[in-house]
Every structure is written in C-alpha cells, then in structure tokens.
Symmetry: C2
Subunit: 192 residues, 2 copies
DNA sequence: TAATAGATTGACTAATCAGTCGATATTTAA
DNA sequence: TTAAATATCGACTGATTAGTCAATCTATTA
C-alpha cells in the first residue's frame, strides 16, 4: 500500500483518538509501518501533515458531493442529495467527520490559507445562490443559510449517532423535512 | 487577585490562541504572574487544569441561565430567555464559548466523568420535558430536541459573529423565530 | 507567642519528541 | 548498462516541557 496514504490513514486514527498533542510523529510512523524519516520525506513538518490530512478529507467529501450533482434535479431534490449524502458519508466515515471539527476548533485552522478554505465551500455557495434565484428558498443572507444548514446537519448527525442503525434513516428523513421547512419559502410551499 | 483564578483566566486565553499543545504550563504560570510550582499546587496535572477550566466555564453559563429562570414564564418565554441569554453570553465571552467546543472536539472530553457532563445538561433536559408536557412543542425525542436547539444556537452564533454589532440583535431575534417555528407544535401555532 | 498548615517559589530533572542526516535501496530515464 | 533521481531507513540530537522538591514565606489558631 502507498506509504503516503498509509501515513495519512494512521495519522487520522491516532489524532482522533489521542489528539494532536497526544500523537507523536514517531508513533504515526511506527503504526503506519514506515520509518521515522519516511514520514518527514512526505510531510516536512507535523503541522503540514495535520493540514494536508484536513484538506484531503475535505476534498474527498466534496468530490463525492460533486459526483452526485445532477443539473436536471429540482432545487429540493438537489438539496436533499446534498444533505443525505453528507450525513451518510459522515456516518460511514465518523473519524474523518470528527477530524474536520477537531481541526476547526484548533489553532491549526488559522494555518490553512483562506483560498483553500474558500475553495472548499465554493460548491455550496454556488448552490445556495442558485437555490435562492429559483425562489424556492426564503430570502436570507447566504452566510446565514449556509451556517444554518451546516449546523442542522451537525445536529442531526449527532443525534443519529445515538440511535440504533435501523432507525437512523428515518431520523435523517425527518431531519430533512425539518430543515427544508425552515429554509423553503412559504410561497413555494403553497404550490408544492 | 486570586492566583487560582488568575491561572484559569490565563490558561483560557492561551489555550484558545495556541491550543493545548502550543501552550506550555510554564508560559501559563509566567503570564499569570505565579511561579511554576504554584500552578501545580492548584492543578496537579495539565490535564486537570484543562478539565477544571472546562467545568468552571460550563458552571458559569449554567448559573447565569438558572438565575434567569422564572416559574411564571410561559414555555415560549422561558425558551426565549434560554436562547437569548446563551447567545448573548457567548458573544460577550467568545473565548469561553470557543473553549467549550475546543474541549468538545478533543480527547479531553472523554476524561470528564459522565456524571459531570450529565449534571451540566440536566437543567436543559428538565426544561425540555416540561415544554413537551405543556403541548407547546412538537412530539420528538428529548435527545433530538436538545441536539437540534444546541446546533441551531451554534449556527446563529457563528453567523452573528460575522455581522456588524448593530445588526446582531435583529439576527438573533430572527434566529429565534426560526428555531421556535421548527420545534413548536403546529397545534399550539394555530391558537397562538 | 509558638506551632501548625497551607501557599509560594524557582531551580532542577527525567523523559519526550520534532526534525536531521548520511547511508542504502529502489525506481526511472537516458 | 549507467546515471540520476527518488524513496526508505533508523540512529541521533537539540530543545522543550510536565512535573518534583526542598526551602521559604504567610496566615491561622491554640
């Protein structure tokens, strides 16, 4: 297996379990089955490793979301896909989803260039603008809409985690109706 | 000034800015104006300091919320107070609010005993049960309600942070209408 | 006053860890 | 086949840091 990838995988597992501080690079290398120096051959510093792991995970999710997009979908359908795909991806990749938050609430986030972060949310912002233009969505600032949807997804995800597997999809569905109700314009609702 | 409190205040500031790893105990002691040994007199380990800081902050917020509670308030009014007080407290105490999330997405959370965490959310859970019994709130699991409200508060808070001060209260108000709309029973809505 | 307990100090240490480096192996390209 | 480039190794180091400790100071109490 590709050693660079092995290092990333191992780092993810250890960072999530023991935190950044609690994970020495030597342990990452050892668990990944590579020499100490090899880790620094691929990632010049520990900080670089932390950042590149973050970016690779965000890219993975974004690529999956992009692959689902279908121009002929209605706004609601498109939004539904975004929501379901994200939550289900998070359920299958709990470590990765957790790691995103872990970086988000750490000083490492400030080390990631603004343009990289912007690149990550670009797709969502474009979608939001399209949705608003369609009139299916309440008039509100883009930022607010983005933040609300994000936090709702976080909330539902966290709740679903506490549930038995066979009830999860129902809850996700309910969560979708709620958030859609929250953001769709009442006008659109009437004619729905 | 009380040295123990000075240490906690300094630790908060440094942890938020530089993270747990990036903040040596020696720097906390120095910035707090106490000797190295004094820090360990009050907090036997760095881990203890991290945990006690978390608990003290949560307690502070909970006490403020409890002091606002008024038994004669309607459910909506009581919920409104909870929501407004939390967000406004968060705006005034951004470091503390951030620190709560920082601990939440770190391995340190697992070090805090279940009973302490439960104690922290007890008030909210009691309120949720009262609200549900009143019929003003949609029928849904306590956990879901709790998580949804929490994440909605996080979302609104984060959005409000990006806004100029003079528009913040309006946004918080709008956010309240949204979340109330999300959780109040349609039956109660009709007779409102 | 004398005695006890707690608070405070800062130099010190044992351990850890991020990152280096020179040597060796492997792959690629000419 | 040869040469250059890249990958891999792991012992090593310089710096850092959590936590200790014996000594001193301060407050309380009998």
């Amino acid at each position: 297996m590709d050693k660079e990838k092995k290092i990333l995988d191992t780092a993810l597992k250890l960072f999530v379990e023991f935190g950044f501080h609690g994970t020495p690079t030597s342990k990452i290398a050892k668990d990944a089955g590579v020499a100490n120096g090899t880790l620094f051959h691929y990632f010049s510093t520990k900080e670089t490793l932390i950042k590149e792991l973050y970016v690779s995970i965000k890219n993975e999710l974004n690529q999956i979301l992009a692959s689902q997009a279908n121009p002929t979908d209605s706004i609601k359908e498109a939004f539904r896909k975004l929501y379901f795909t994200t939550i289900n991806w998070a359920l299958v990749n709990q470590d990765k989803f957790y790691y995103i938050q872990q970086v988000h609430f750490s000083p490492h986030l400030a080390q990631i260039p603004e343009e990289v972060l912007h690149e990550q949310s670009k797709m969502h912002i474009t979608f939001i603008e399209k949705a608003k233009a369609s009139g299916d969505i309440k008039i509100m600032p883009n930022e607010l809409l983005y933040t609300l949807v994000n936090s709702q997804i976080m909330g539902i995800y966290q709740y679903v985690l506490t549930q038995p597997t066979d009830q999860q999809q129902d809850s996700i569905e309910q969560g979708f109706e709620m958030i859609w109700d929250l953001i769709c314009s009442s006008q659109a609702k009437i004619y729905e």
